[in-house]
Assembly symmetry: C2
Homo-oligomer: 378 residues x 2
């Protein structure tokens, strides 16, 4: 029997393939004409099926956030994989194991100790491909531009011996998530570009090849006004979008491909609330979208019969749904189903082992047309 939105057990994760495809097309149309490669950050989707869709117009390079993802996507045929979280020496054997299978699993560092460990490990015959990370203002990982004093020394340690390729430089302007105007995001995009291009220039001036110059987040990929000097972008959440991206203007309301379907399990008119069977685990406790969308709670209800109907609190398996206006309980009877837009899709999706895929263009949007698996854990 084919599942539909009426038969799937709740809570579950629904992916609208039509919206996903539009989102991929929009990003492709941004990057392809600029001559950039897309190296999508598949930490969001963690799905080979989504990865194939996202890379269809490009050369197939991807970014991952865990070694479990690296193995999974390698198994799915991906050959150029950037593991985008700073590598530590204890993880190098797992990297080598995949590289020996013909997968160009590239690693990242910003640290001299790690660079030495990689160079040492390479002496044993294993080869490595390494990015040096630059902090373009987000204040997470990376050499803190404009202080790039460690850049060339690290690059020289990496490339001084045998078997280590400097793949290039990369940055992630995560502070773009805290801007909610095109101008503000474009400013962060320009910080990304300037920092990482400056790093590439410094390496090349020192005679060290720097083939890949990589930047990106979904907001900066959408709003950058120049990609000059960059060779690839690494947006992630653009495939699905979420309330957080809608709040900052990376996408419109109709561009959110992901939702959590839940059942109404209780009516509480004495406090103008109802409960659904999607709580902290099914939605996540990520409330990033509240920065610019204070009423989003843990997620707005899609196609709600009343304005700003949102999950305003969560316990582990209960979501508390409320609105400013009186709830129309007759339109949300016990057992009826609602779909919750994710506050932050990357974190919400991580509770699920699969996507139930519907398609609002090719079919009725309610019949499950495919199931995409996901790789969770580490």
């Amino acid at each position: 029997m084919t599942d539909t939105l009426d038969t799937l057990p709740t809570p579950c994760l629904i992916l609208d393939r039509a919206v996903l495809r539009r989102n991929v097309r929009r990003m492709t149309d941004r990057l392809k004409p600029a001559g950039l490669q897309l190296r999508p950050h598949l930490k969001t989707a963690k799905s080979v099926d989504v990865g194939r869709l996202a890379t269809a117009a490009f050369d197939g390079r991807i970014t991952v956030s865990t070694l479990a993802e690296a193995k999974y996507f390698a198994g799915g045929g991906f050959k150029d994989i950037l593991y985008g979280v700073g590598i530590v020496p204890s993880k190098l054997p797992a990297v080598s194991a995949l590289r020996r299978q013909g997968v160009n699993l590239r690693v990242v560092t910003d640290n001299m100790t790690v660079a030495k460990a990689i160079a040492d490990a390479a002496k044993g015959g294993d080869d490595f491909s390494v990015f040096i990370e630059i902090d373009s203002g987000g204040g997470r990982a990376g050499l803190p531009y404009p202080d790039l004093s460690h850049l060339v020394p690290i690059a020289r340690v990496l490339t001084g011996g045998a078997n280590v390729e400097l793949a290039g430089v990369m940055t992630h302007g995560g502070h773009s998530y805290h801007e909610n105007t095109p101008d503000g995001i474009a400013r962060v995009a320009e910080q990304e570009r300037q920092a990482v291009v400056a790093a590439a220039t410094q390496l090349r001036d020192a005679g060290i090849p720097c083939p890949i110059v990589s930047a990106g987040s979904t907001p900066t990929a959408m709003h950058a006004r120049s990609f000059e000097g960059l060779t690839e972008m690494r947006p992630g959440v653009f495939v699905f979008n979420d309330l957080d991206q809608a709040g900052i203007g990376s996408c419109g309301d109709g561009d959110i491909a992901l939702s959590v379907m839940a059942s109404v399990i209780g009516h509480y008119p004495h406090r103008n609330q109802l409960l659904i069977d999607a709580g902290a685990l099914a939605l996540s406790k990520d409330i990033s979208a509240q920065e610019f969308m204070p009423k989003a709670g843990y997620g707005f209800i899609k196609d709600a019969p009343v304005k700003d109907l949102a999950v305003i609190a969560c316990s582990q398996e209960h979501g508390f749904v409320q609105a400013d206006a009186p709830l129309p309980y007759d339109k949300l009877p016990i057992g009826s189903r609602v779909r919750v837009w994710p506050n932050h899709a990357c974190i919400t999706a991580a509770a699920y082992d699969r996507y139930h895929v519907v398609d609002s263009e090719e079919s009725d949007g309610r019949t499950v047309v495919a199931t995409y698996d996901r790789i969770n854990g580490w």
Copy 2:
């Protein structure tokens, strides 16, 4: 080769069995002398091994929060299982399927529509065991005590036909998590007790048997001053404890059995921070403990070389670690391992498919002596 804390890949979830056993003993010593059964809420542990330890001194009844847990624990031999989230009619066939296998999977409602659906479903020959939920002041699910006007009518609908047993009444004083003194928690425990005992009395006065009178959360189970009229308690997080429980005084610092082990992946002295490879997914974005422990962030570092070393921010796979004092980077070199106390153990654990079990009493506390699996999802 036996894994140790030095060889496990990071991030991973570490469970100290010695602390777990002490925590179970403490709860057993609270409830057993009072003549109560313990029906542990295994939504926290989601582990058959932990469930067996927790119920060893009792008759084996348990609580779960998903049908996936119900199936998993049934497979592990548990025979009396309360599915503690309000049931909806679409889930009754799955309940019946387990009951036909000899598992007394009991369901919960506070709603007349659902009661009618259960009674209708039972006409087909399937039997059900149902709790009626009472809201003792937490404001989540349940008939809102003292207004129990719907209680007897719902009970009559349930028990009016064939094949439905009213198992009893249950409540969960979740507002105990927002009290941080023994007196405050004891007050909530007394609200739980009064509400659910009043409901049982009302049913019995109407001639309806009410065998089980069930209350509980970890704080109220630890601090209740009377259990009179109750027959069982349903604490959950007591098996592990966490910073949230330590903050409200349900446990001491030495009573936290669970930690996330992570590797130091970067040093950022220009902002007095370091990064670890445990972020929003490995720790969760739950910050409940911050209510009474504002410096807890997403979790304190265990045995830290500097006061109040905590994960103060998270992105998906990066944890930002900081303290008020200058970080002693020489004591936290790149690649070294730290253990993070969970802010809220139930949510943190949900990202993992297993516990790596160590034992700080029977062995050195660093060798993995067992692996316990977990059931995630729905």
